[in-house]
Symmetry: C2
Subunit: 204 residues, 2 copies
Amino acid sequence: MDGKVTPKRTRIQREKRELIREAALEVFSQYGFRGSTIDQIAEAAGMSKPNLLYYFKNKEEIFATLIQRLLETWLAPLKEMDAEGEPQTEIRSYIRRKIEMARDFPRESRLFANEILQGAPRILPMLEGELKALVDEKAAVIGQWMREGKLKKSDPYHFIFAIWATTQHYADFDVQVRAVLGPVRGGEGRFEDAARFLEGLFLG
Amino acid sequence: MDGKVTPKRTRIQREKRELIREAALEVFSQYGFRGSTIDQIAEAAGMSKPNLLYYFKNKEEIFATLIQRLLETWLAPLKEMDAEGEPQTEIRSYIRRKIEMARDFPRESRLFANEILQGAPRILPMLEGELKALVDEKAAVIGQWMREGKLKKSDPYHFIFAIWATTQHYADFDVQVRAVLGPVRGGEGRFEDAARFLEGLFLG
DNA sequence: TTAACGTTTGTCCAAACGGTCAAATTTTGC
DNA sequence: GCAAAATTTGACCGTTTGGACAAACGTTAA
């Protein structure tokens, strides 16, 4: 009926496909889809171009599997925000998780940023569907917390946008952050500093 | 001595060069440097590729003049922040100006974001030089205001980053913002809503 | 051992790319 | 009005790109 079956894969296929995804993430996150070439990705993966195309039909397909995986990673932290939890704690954890993602998965963040910058041609339906639904739900929770006086009153949607913007900034604009902070303050501690600052900003 | 002279330009040259810059901004801000083609820009400018190359030596040069102009626009609002002014007023004006820029010059914002995402290959010296110096200066001012109790105490550098991140978010991630807000709340009023929210966040 | 299957690569192709050039056309200054 | 200068374009070039293909090489299991 479906016509679409999960293809059986050998051990080598699973490993090589993962290797290619890793290389593609590196390249795509820096140059965007149009700015990246299959040759670049193949070289980063340590294989020939035809060999890479043995594992992925074409450039689009590599990008597609990357985006698909990215979206799950991306929605997870917000999904975890628990309506039954302590508001301050929930927001604090959310900020922490997002800053950790900026620190540990900057390439994923940049890939996402690149896609949005270009008008989100491949993920617009998901933004208007799944993401909007999730944000609507969580914004309602946050709004309730605000009405209960557990959080300072403001617009829940823009509150969420502000957390996204500030946390992802440390991944997407990392070069600028380090340039401005200089070698001393721009070291590894910058993410911890950022986390503390943002907790104060959003919860203070 | 200098060897570099401002070339004399005819009326047509001035007009056409401006036309090309406008078209190039449109294209580069969406696809980045590597992802954009001269043909795309030429078409957007309504002329043939050779004709475009009559006005600009090559792709790099178009991009360079765009970046150069962008940087001036970009630093202006922060420069205007006045150490002698009323702290609350100065911060509020700064946020307003930045939100207005996100609304009125989204392409410039995206061009900048694109450049930083790719590691700022063409403007890193400026970030480490001029920008760092400016931020150092203004962070000192903000730090003084905080010590005087005119602003809530926090880290002045991350305070500035947070203003950048949140305001530019409304230009760079506009597609996402509109997708999440939906057709009703995502209308023209979203920038005014954002401005009010951000004033509360940073000054409340 | 060997046949079947999975993997890898050199070679090739057409389209797209950045850029050149000479010839044709238009504008300008006298 | 006309010559010089400025502008525009079609045709072209070498390179890069995404992708196809068949032949060669490895692996596996009967």
